[in-house]
Symmetry: C2
Subunit: 181 residues, 2 copies
DNA sequence: AGGCTCATGTAACCGGTTACATGATTAT
DNA sequence: ATAATCATGTAACCGGTTACATGAGCCT
C-alpha cells in the first residue's frame, strides 16, 4: 500500500533510479518505513503500468545503464490524494515480536531477558544519538514554516525521538523492577 | 513468524478453539499483535502438520462442533526456544503510514492534517484510558514477581502506556507548532 | 425483521522477504 | 586479493488481508 506512495513521494522531489530510491529509503525514511531493493524494482514496474511514473534510459560508459524514473501528472494526483487520507485507525496496527516474547516471559529465561533489555536500550540509545545529530541541523534552520518540506521532515524526526525515548524509559523500568525483586 | 508462536503461547495456558484464540488476540494481545481469524485457522493447520499442536473434536448439541486445540511437548519446546531469542534488531522494523504522510505533508492539505492530528490524539487517549483501567487491576495485585505471568503481562501494559503517551505528546507538539506559525 | 454470537473454514490476492544472478569499476 | 559501489533484476516463498460461505440460536 504505502511503499508505492513513498516512491511517488520521493519522485515528486527529484527524478531518480530504483537504486537511488533504495538509498533514500535507507537513509531518510528508515525509521518509519523500510524497503527492499527487490520490492522497489517490482513496484516501479507496477507504477509504470498504471501510468503513475515513467522512465528514460540513460546510457552510461563504464557503468551499467540507468532507468531514470519520474512521476507523471496522474502520479502526482494520486500522491496528493493519498497524503490527504492522513490518519486511518485501521492502518495503526502494531506487530512487535519482542513485546510478545516479554508477554510470555514467565516461560523464558530471566537472564536472557535482562541481557536482551540491555541490548535493546543500547540499540535505542545509539539510534537516538544519530537522530539528535540530524535534529541539530534542523533546529538551526529558521526558515521552516508549514508550507515547507523541512517543517514536516523535522516533525517526523521528533516522532522518532519520542518513540525512542519511550522504548528506553520502558526498558529501564522493566530492568529496575526485575532487579528490585 | 510470530503469530504461530503467539498461538503456541496462548495454548500453553489453556486448551482452546481457533475461535477462542481469535478473541484472546483481540482482547489481550491486540496492542502488540493483531490476528485475523482466517489466518489463525490456517496457522493452526500448519502447526498441526508439524506436530506442535493437536486437537480433539467436541460434539455439541445445538451449536457447531468445536476443535479443541492443545499444545504438544514438541510445541512447548519450540515456544520456549522462540521466547528466549528475545530481541533481534532486524525484527524491529517499523511501518507507519501516518508518519509517512506527515513526511510528505508539504504537498497535502494543512487543515486535513490538523484534523487528523486531533483524531489521532483522541484515538490514543481513548486507548490510554482503557489501558489505565487494566493497569489499576494489576497494581492492586501484590503477588506478582518475575516467575509470574502477571509480572510480564503488566510490563507489556507499561509499554503500551509509554507508546501511547509518546504518540499523544508528539501530536500535541506538532499541533502547537502548526498553530504558532 | 435484522443483527450479534458461536464455530468453522476456503480462495484469491497483496505486500514483504530471501536467495540468487550478473558484471564492471574503485577503494583498501 | 577482497570488499564495496553502481545498477539491474527474477523466482520462490511467506505472512497477512479481504471477501465469501454456512447455519443455528438468541436478542431487540
Amino acid at each position: 500500500m504505502s511503499l508505492k506512495h513513498g516512491i511517488l513521494g520521493l519522485l515528486s522531489y527529484e527524478d531518480m533510479t530504483g537504486y537511488d530510491l533504495s538509498k533514500y529509503f535507507e537513509q531518510s525514511l528508515s525509521f518509519f518505513w523500510n524497503a527492499q531493493k527487490s520490492q522497489i524494482y517490482r513496484d516501479l514496474k507496477n507504477l509504470e503500468k498504471k501510468d503513475l511514473v515513467e522512465y528514460k534510459v540513460k546510457h552510461q560508459e563504464e557503468k551499467p545503464d540507468k532507468k531514470i524514473y519520474s512521476i507523471t501528472k496522474k502520479g502526482q494526483k494520486e500522491l496528493v490524494n493519498w497524503i490527504n487520507q492522513y490518519f486511518k485507525p485501521d492502518e495503526n496496527k502494531v506487530r512487535d515480536p519482542f513485546l510478545m516474547r516479554v508477554f510470555f516471559s514467565a516461560k523464558g529465561n530471566t537472564e536472557k531477558l535482562k541481557k536482551a533489555l540491555k541490548d535493546y536500550i543500547k540499540y535505542n540509545k545509539t539510534y537516538l544519538k544519530s537522530l539528535e545529530k540530524v535534529e541539530d541541523r534542523f533546529i538551526k534552520d529558521k526558515t521552516k514554516n508549514e508550507d515547507n518540506d523541512q517543517f514536516y521532515w523535522y516533525m517526523t524526526i521528533r516522532k522518532g525521538y519520542y518513540n525512542l525515548k519511550a522504548n528506553i524509559n520502558w526498558a529501564e523500568e522493566v530492568l529496575e523492577m526485575m532487579n528490585s525483586l
